[in-house]
């Protein structure tokens, strides 16, 4: 109907504002509802647009028809004068219940229409979603890239720690203790199965708490020989994984980080020498066996980076993580060129394959 006919036939009928969204669709909205949006209000007052279909007000790009519907629902409710604060609050609480993606779109759209109360409402709701989450969780919720360099991440003012390394360590300690207990109980159990599990845990532990000094001849020669044999075997089987993993590493952020690693690598030799001095001392027998493993010389920056990658891979590759971890960690150690670690519990377990020094 044309505006003129409407005016003659039903003078008391509402007047409408015509709005056009970015996809081209045009709709009419009750005037008092539409005018609740400052942006629309300004357009109508200053330019006279919106009075008919041909002169529909072009809404900002961030406002699609579905979101517009929500916004108009909001306006329709709040533009009514008589409502109590309690009513408005109740409406808002119900209104805000939607999935995160839609909430983001709504915030963005409300901002472009300069509808401040709705911007505040949605922003606050988004803040509540963010509250209490770790950076990884936030990234997942909002589908954001993980593109910070390690240097930036390690920068200070992280007064809390949510260190995956420590969690990993605890998990491994618990697992190791459990398995030591089991091994004691079931000495005659099927060797192969146990070996697979224990080997991976041992290796993980030995990586994280690698006993230094193989190269300096502290360890028994017996263990050394066996390990060398195992080392060769390991190499051939793991090259494939090296490649795929290397690719993924290359495509992930910042070559700067790798540069940093190189610098730190050069500094390694002196540190390992010092660690060697200490390794001649020993831990008190009071502590549990695995507590006897000493920390190696890994630079914390690299460790952090490595462990983060480890977790990512573990998630992505989605396999039984102990074995996968072992492979990844062994690759990681190759990258870092650290002396080989040997599990010293009198068994013929393998060690993590480490070539260079």
């Amino acid at each position: 109907m044309s505006e003129g006919i409407m005016a003659v036939v039903k003078p008391e009928m509402k007047s409408y504002i015509w709005l056009q969204t970015v996809d081209g669709s045009i709709q009419q909205v009750e005037e008092e509802v539409a005018m609740f949006c400052p942006m629309i209000y300004r357009e109508v007052i200053q330019t006279g647009m919106g009075s008919s279909k041909n002169y529909a007000i072009l809404l900002p790009q961030r406002v699609n028809p579905s979101i517009l519907g929500s916004i108009l629902d909001y306006c329709r409710f709040h533009q009514v004068q008589g409502r109590s604060n309690k009513e408005r609050k109740t409406f808002d609480e119900k209104f805000i219940r939607m999935d995160t993606k839609r909430l983001c779109e709504l915030t963005s759209a409300a901002d472009s229409l300069q509808l401040k109360p709705l911007v505040d409402l949605t922003s606050c709701a988004l803040a509540r979603i963010i509250e209490g989450k770790t950076p990884e969780e936030i990234r997942e919720t909002f589908h954001l890239p993980d593109d910070l360099t390690e240097e930036e991440k390690l920068e200070p003012l992280r007064n809390i720690s949510d260190d995956p390394r420590i969690r990993l360590l605890n998990r491994l300690y618990a697992r190791k203790r459990k398995e030591l207990k089991e091994r004691e109980k079931l000495k005659n159990a099927e060797v192969e199965e146990d070996r697979v599990d224990e080997r991976s845990v041992d290796d993980l532990l030995s990586f994280i708490n690698s006993r230094d000094g193989d190269a300096k001849g502290v360890k028994t020669s017996k263990g050394k020989k066996k390990n060398r044999r195992r080392k060769d075997q390991k190499d051939s089987s793991s090259t494939k994984d090296d490649e795929t993993i290397q690719k993924e590493l290359d495509t992930s952020p910042s070559t700067k980080r790798n540069g940093e690693i190189n610098n730190i690598l050069e500094a390694n030799p002196s540190r390992s020498a010092n660690a060697q001095d200490f390794s001649s001392g020993s831990f008190s027998p009071k502590l549990e066996p695995d507590d006897g493993f000493m920390d190696d010389d890994l630079d914390p920056a690299m460790k952090e980076e490595l462990d983060r990658e480890v977790e990512d891979f573990a998630r992505r590759l989605n396999s039984g993580w102990p074995e996968r971890m072992q492979e990844i960690l062994s690759l990681g150690q190759e990258k870092k060129s650290i002396s080989s670690a040997i599990v010293d519990n009198g068994s013929s377990r393998t060690c993590i394959s480490l070539n260079q020094r």
Binding site: R128, D146, L154, I160, N170, S284, M294, D295
Partner: protein, 583 residues
């Protein structure tokens, strides 16, 4: 999603995040969020002034308006940190003076603040509003005069527990007559008399004054006229609350108090005379916070006062309250959230027999369902009581128990208190802060390492049997940020086995333990981002100390600023060769 979100909108979302934790998390999400957080961060908290250089903070957060910095380790409160240790705020002030001209707030804790700092603050920040100096030292009332004279927009001046060289009370008169914006003033730590007329004029011309904590030198007969000038007060700390009882003074005081309709917090009451206490009864029904830790008042007057406050949420009191008083608290103060009971006579100089035992705490834990935070000094404790408390109040977030005599066992069974504290950590899953005392073996640390997953700060004294204890805590407590230990048989092994854990924490303090010099050096070499500082006040020269030498005091903290340059000669940094990684 990120690409369709304009920066201003994201910045607006961030403005609804109030905790540092959340802002920090947000800054680590991705590059764009990092940048947005950087530029929009207005409030920064530096938990350890040596963890980062001022330049680095300024470089990263160019638009800061409010900064909070902490200096000395917590055990400095117990005189374990010698004078001259450090914690100087001057480098921060000079750096901020040139880079943060719009700085509004400075909050400092356990730092050395000189008059030069205060003068620089007064001159450099045109819109300066809030100065909070908590347990600080190094300045005199001259410095305060500069602040008073120059900070036209000052809202808050809070000197809580600081040590001030109190030259005279004249500094208060330096507030110009045109100055009217005072909202909060805490001078309770000052010794000398401030000019009372200046104080009165100040109070009368500041209509927004909400919090006023006077010092002891303000006599009781002057309070009434002050209160009449400021009926809008929300917090009041009286001065000395004693005098010979005079009916006119009493009724004046009583009348003045009854006009304080907004009053929620009361403190002060030095040397309180019971006869004058009823003057405050009219405000008791609204009181939510009561600090009677300077009051030597005893029962029954003390209990009578506290039981008049049904809406009490926070109570700080001396052990004069006794078990019977706490039972009354449990019955009348149903909304109590925080209880601190301090010892009136910790060194047992008097022959007084104070009837405060574990029973008082147990009653409060039974009667006050909102109780979250406890600091309790007493002379006896039992496992049964602790278990009871744990079961009654699983919502505890802070539990600090100080049994005055070190290594006191369960007084009923003579057993260690492992089981009791074990129950605390097992039931109170949200526990963030814990102080241990009494006779404790390694077992208690096993409980703590197993259950206390949210624990952030742990204080240990005269406890444990071996390195295993320390190891269990360091390896088990995932959220641990601060650990302070004194007089425990913990040595090198646990420390070195958990070297990396230390970098996830803010700091570790160990004094009178069994850590060797060699281990400190090794730790430092292994962890370049840890500052390992040995405090040794014996006269031996550093180089002559053998590796096996047991260090007296050890303070380890993570830092990206490298070893600090302002150490006194009795503090040795183990990291002379450490590179300065950032900044």
């Amino acid at each position: 999603m990120a690409y369709s979100f304009p920066e201003e909108v994201l910045e607006h979302v961030f403005s609804f995040l109030h905790s540092d934790r959340d802002r920090n998390a947000v800054s680590l999400v991705c590059k764009s969020w990092y940048e947005i957080d950087r530029w929009s961060r207005r409030r920064v908290f530096i938990g350890n002034c040596y963890a980062i250089s001022p330049r680095a903070v300024i470089r990263r957060f160019p638009e800061v308006r409010s900064i909070k910095i902490k200096g000395k380790p917590h055990f400095a409160d117990f005189n374990l940190v010698p004078d001259g240790w450090g914690g100087y705020v001057f480098p921060w002030i000079t750096a901020m003076a040139s880079s943060y001209p719009w700085l509004e707030e400075i909050h400092l804790k356990r730092m050395v603040v000189t008059n030069a700092c205060l003068e620089l603050i007064a001159k450099s920040f045109k819109n300066f509003r809030v100065l909070v100096l908590s347990t600080c030292e190094g300045f005199s009332t001259d410095g305060l005069a500069s602040i008073a004279a120059n900070c036209r927009n000052l809202r808050e001046l809070d000197l809580r527990d600081s040590e001030v060289d109190d030259l005279s009370g004249h500094w208060l008169s330096h507030f110009p007559d045109s100055y009217t914006s005072l909202v909060s003033l805490n001078i309770s730590c000052l010794g000398s008399e401030v000019s009372f007329s200046a104080l009165e004029r100040l109070v009368s011309r500041c209509p927004n004054l909400r919090s006023l904590s006077l010092n002891r030198a303000v006599p009781i007969d002057r309070i009434a006229c002050l209160l009449r000038q400021a009926p809008q007060l929300v917090e009041l700390g009286t001065g000395a609350y004693n005098a010979e009882l005079r009916p006119d003074v009493f009724s004046s005081l009583s009348g003045a108090f009854s006009c304080l309709k907004e009053l929620r917090s009361l403190s002060g009451f030095w040397d309180a005379v019971p006869a004058y206490i009823p003057a405050v009864y009219s405000v008791c029904s609204g009181i939510t916070s009561l600090n009677l830790s300077y009051t030597t008042m005893q029962n029954p007057d003390l209990t009578k006062l506290v039981s008049q406050c049904p809406n009490l949420q926070q109570l700080w009191v001396l052990d004069y309250i006794e078990d019977c008083g706490l039972e009354a608290v449990a019955a009348s103060c149903k909304d109590l959230r925080e209880l601190r009971v301090f010892p009136s006579d910790p060194y047992e100089e008097d022959e007084f027999d104070i009837a405060l035992t574990e029973r008082g705490l147990v009653s409060v834990s039974e009667g006050c369902t909102n109780l979250q935070s406890v600091l309790y000094f007493c002379r006896q404790m039992s496992n049964a009581a602790l278990i009871s408390i744990a079961q009654n109040r699983p919502n505890l977030t802070r539990f600090r128990l100080c049994i005055i005599e070190p290594r006191s066992p369960d007084y009923l069974t003579l057993q260690p208190l492992d089981a009791g504290f074990g129950a605390i950590v097992e039931h109170c899953k949200g526990l963030r802060r814990l102080s241990l005392s009494g006779l404790l073996t390694d077992r208690v640390f096993e409980y703590i390492g197993t259950h206390a997953k949210k624990l952030e700060m742990l204080s240990v004294a005269f406890a444990g049997e071996s390195d295993l204890g320390l190891h269990l805590v360091l390896s088990g407590c995932e959220s641990l940020r601060k650990l302070e230990i004194r007089d425990c048989p913990f040595g090198d092994k646990a420390l070195l086995a958990n070297a990396e854990k230390l970098e996830t924490m803010r700091s570790l303090w160990m004094s009178s333990c069994s850590v060797s010099f060699g281990a400190c050096k090794l730790l430092c070499r292994r962890m370049p981002r840890l500052n390992v500082e040995v405090i040794d006040e014996t006269s031996e020269v550093a180089e002559s100390r053998p590796e096996s030498f047991t260090v007296q005091k050890l303070y380890i903290y993570r830092s990206v600023a490298g070893p600090r340059l302002d150490m006194p000669d009795y503090v040795l940094s183990m990291g002379e060769e450490s590179p300065d990684l950032i900044g």
